[in-house]
Amino acid sequence: MDFDAPKPEIKIVHGKNIMFQKVVDEVLHGIEEEGVPFSIEELEDANPVELAFRGAELSHLGVGIGITENEVVLHFIKLKEDQPIFRIPAYSNEATLRAIGSNAARLVKKMPFKNLDNTELS
């Protein structure tokens, strides 16, 4: 059997005209270090949870991240729309922003999540 599929990617969705490129970048770095492909989309919507869920719908891995001025949200297609896995403030420090990106990748790679308070479960 030989068949083909769309590229499996994590989808990051953020609001228009973003003033928070630094936040997006750190999240992307978290994904990149874990070696999972991703792509970015810009949408009007202002609710980060909706953005994240929209990302999960667009992603063929079912994993989406929504980013607004205020929040970064990680969502998974099999969850209820109003109940994402993780949400953190956009003003979180660099390590936490990277960690939520890592966790998106780890959801795909089936690896234990990083703690978002910068401590590993130990």
Partner: protein, 604 residues
């Protein structure tokens, strides 16, 4: 008339309630609660109340209905456990980094001189360099500097990075190099030394640096120098990434920690043995001087410390002088303990040898009569001390369907493993040995490097599973189980313990199979060994083979695999054994309590 048999154990207090009709007991119900306070002390009374109340409620009776309470003449045995590491690994001047970051960068092997990335532009054209990148330099700067240096004709052949930036840096390089990241103590990486760095593909392990001749090839070593790098190469076996740095005096050593002697005083003979000779030698020594009167450790040594700690705990518990405490049996077990390597630069750890010890102490005769008196006063019911624990346990065990005299039992509790045998004539012989459930828990905790004993106890008692998605787990046997609601993200992709109170995620990176193997081995090392040791001692001929039937009783016989491990081992001696099923309904619990009721019938 209504009789209650109540067994106060080290860990649990059990009740059997029966009505005697025509001189025959008819069992009504049973009860079990945790023992309150040290066995044989006044505090036990609360537990006795609770246990009795539980049984009475099940039978729709009250204390007033009870005509007689029989409590056990407790075996005066208490156990404690300790652990002693007997080897250590030391790195002098860091020469290797053998850790496994989850996301190293690049692939292959690179050799060069270690240079701080901020000084790399001082290097000469044509020089081969391994850059060292501390936390302060971010991945964008790092990759820019490296690309620039490469353009200027400097050979950058690898990188050692403090942050988790390996993939990020590599993705931005024009010429890809192997990168080891997450090296926490980067300041300890020596500069201006020759270094080799190797990163294997996903799923593979380093091949060059884990082979002494591979290191020799890289550093052009003489055969004498090659001999010196053997511990380095061995330590790197199985890693996906590795760094070796050649410092003039650097070395990795495994050394034995002199742990001191154990002195075993028998009735007639005396033996001394070094703890660092391992468990086998210690057990041989104990066997050679049996019966044992006392065991002491050489003063001022770790062995001494370990045994004196046990003695101290016992003395506190029993309110006796430490010098009056006699250690009368000891179970030593060889084990491994993960320990951080001294002098490591990336929190490398290695599995060190250790010896675990369970000690058994005969306390003063416990004050069961005092307890009986107080109970009688408080309850207004006649209370008598009903007989030796082992005798009662055998009587209880004989209610297991399919069992008959002659019969041996092994009572697997928390602190000690007790065995008793009854012959056709009804004569009973019994023995108490060090090492039981608590020892298993200790071994599990130390082999996995956990301080948390409650966690280790859960690992012992409950099966494992792997959380494979937010919605399903895979059990130890490969079966899959689904859940309607998403599981706690803290358990995601982790090994979990399936406790009755929910899934407990396991810290660390152990695979399910590793934890399972540790668990089963700990159970084998304690209970299989003690089953055979104890049967040897109670066998009329001293030979285990001459016992035909064994039933397993006690809390640890409830375990989901201990009985099968023991059964399997005993079957090699043609012994029929299995978990007891007291009165056909209680499983391995309630043997002594049941025996206490039955002994009344026999007029004891």
């Amino acid at each position: 008339m209504i009789i209650a048999g109540i067994d106060i154990g080290n860990a649990s207090t059990e009740t059997a309630l029966a009505r005697y009709v025509d001189g025959k007991p008819e069992f009504l119900s049973s009860g079990i609660v945790d023992t309150t306070g040290m066995k044989g002390t006044r505090q036990n009374i609360h537990g006795v109340f609770a246990s009795l109340k539980q049984a009475l409620e099940k039978a729709d009776l009250t204390v007033e209905d009870v005509d007689l309470i029989r409590i056990n003449e407790a075996a005066p045995v208490i156990g404690d456990v300790a652990m002693e590491t007997i080897t250590e690994t030391i790195i002098t001047e860091s020469t290797m980094i053998g850790h496994n970051p989850s996301t190293p960068g690049g692939l292959g092997i690179g050799v060069g001189v270690t240079v701080d990335i901020r000084e790399v532009n001082n290097c000469d054209k044509g020089e081969s360099v391994i850059v060292v990148i501390p936390r302060e330099v971010d991945f964008e700067d790092s990759s820019r500097i490296i690309n620039h240096a490469v353009n200027n004709g400097i050979f950058i052949n690898g990188a050692i990075v403090q942050r988790d930036d390996g993939v990020l840096i590599n993705n931005r390089l024009t010429k890809k190099i192997p990168i080891v990241d997450e090296v926490s103590l980067i300041d300890k990486v020596p500069r201006n030394m020759r270094a080799a760095i190797e990163v294997a593909a996903a799923g593979s392990v380093v091949e060059q640096l884990s082979n002494p001749y591979g290191i020799a090839t890289v550093f052009d070593l003489t055969s004498d120098e090659t001999k010196q790098v053997v511990p380095v190469s061995r330590a790197l076996i199985g890693n996906r990434s590795a760094v070796v740095i050649k410092t003039p005096a650097g070395d990795v050593k495994e050394r034995k920690i002199p742990a001191g002697q154990i002195i075993i005083q028998g009735t007639n003979k005396k033996a001394q043995v070094n703890v660092d000779d391992g468990a086998e030698k210690i057990m041989d020594a104990i066997r050679s001087v049996a019966p044992v009167e006392d065991i002491r450790g050489e003063a001022g040594t770790n062995a001494g410390g370990m045994l004196e700690k046990v003695r101290q705990v016992m003395s506190n518990l029993t309110d006796q002088l430490p010098s009056a405490i006699k250690i009368q049996d000891l179970l030593a077990v060889d084990t491994f303990v993960p320990q951080t390597v001294k002098g490591g630069v990336a929190e490398e750890f290695s599995m060190e040898n250790a010896v675990g010890i369970a000690a058994m102490v005969k306390a003063d005769k416990l004050q069961m009569n005092m307890i009986a008196h107080e109970l009688e006063a408080e309850l207004g019911v006649k209370v008598e001390v009903g007989g030796v624990e082992a005798d009662m346990a055998i009587r209880g065990a004989l209610t297991t369907p399919g069992s008959n005299k002659p019969l041996a039992i092994i009572d697997m509790g928390a602190g000690s493993t007790d065995a008793a045998i009854i012959n056709r004539a009804g004569e009973i012989k019994s023995i108490h040995l060090a090492g039981a459930g608590n020892m298993v828990t200790l071994l599990i905790a130390s082999e996995l490097g956990y301080d948390n004993m409650a966690l280790a106890e859960d690992i012992k008692k409950y099966p494992l599973a792997k959380v494979e998605s937010l919605f399903h787990i895979r059990h130890e046997d490969g079966t899959v189980q689904f859940f309607d609601k998403p599981l706690d993200p803290r358990t995601f992709a982790r090994v979990v313990i399936l406790t009755p109170n929910g899934m407990v995620p396991m810290p660390g990176n152990y695979s399910l199979e590793r934890i399972r193997a540790v668990r089963r081995e700990a159970k084998t090392k304690v209970f299989v060994v003690n089953a055979i040791r104890s049967l040897e001692r109670v066998s009329p001929t001293g030979n285990v083979r001459d016992i035909e039937f064994v039933t397993l009783v006690g809390g640890s016989a409830l375990d989901f695999e201990i009985p099968q491990l023991v059964t399997d081992a005993l079957s090699k001696y043609s012994i029929v054994s299995g978990r007891a099923n007291i009165r056909g309904v209680e499983g391995p619990r309630n043997a002594v309590a049941t025996g206490l009721v039955l002994a009344y019938e026999e007029g004891e």
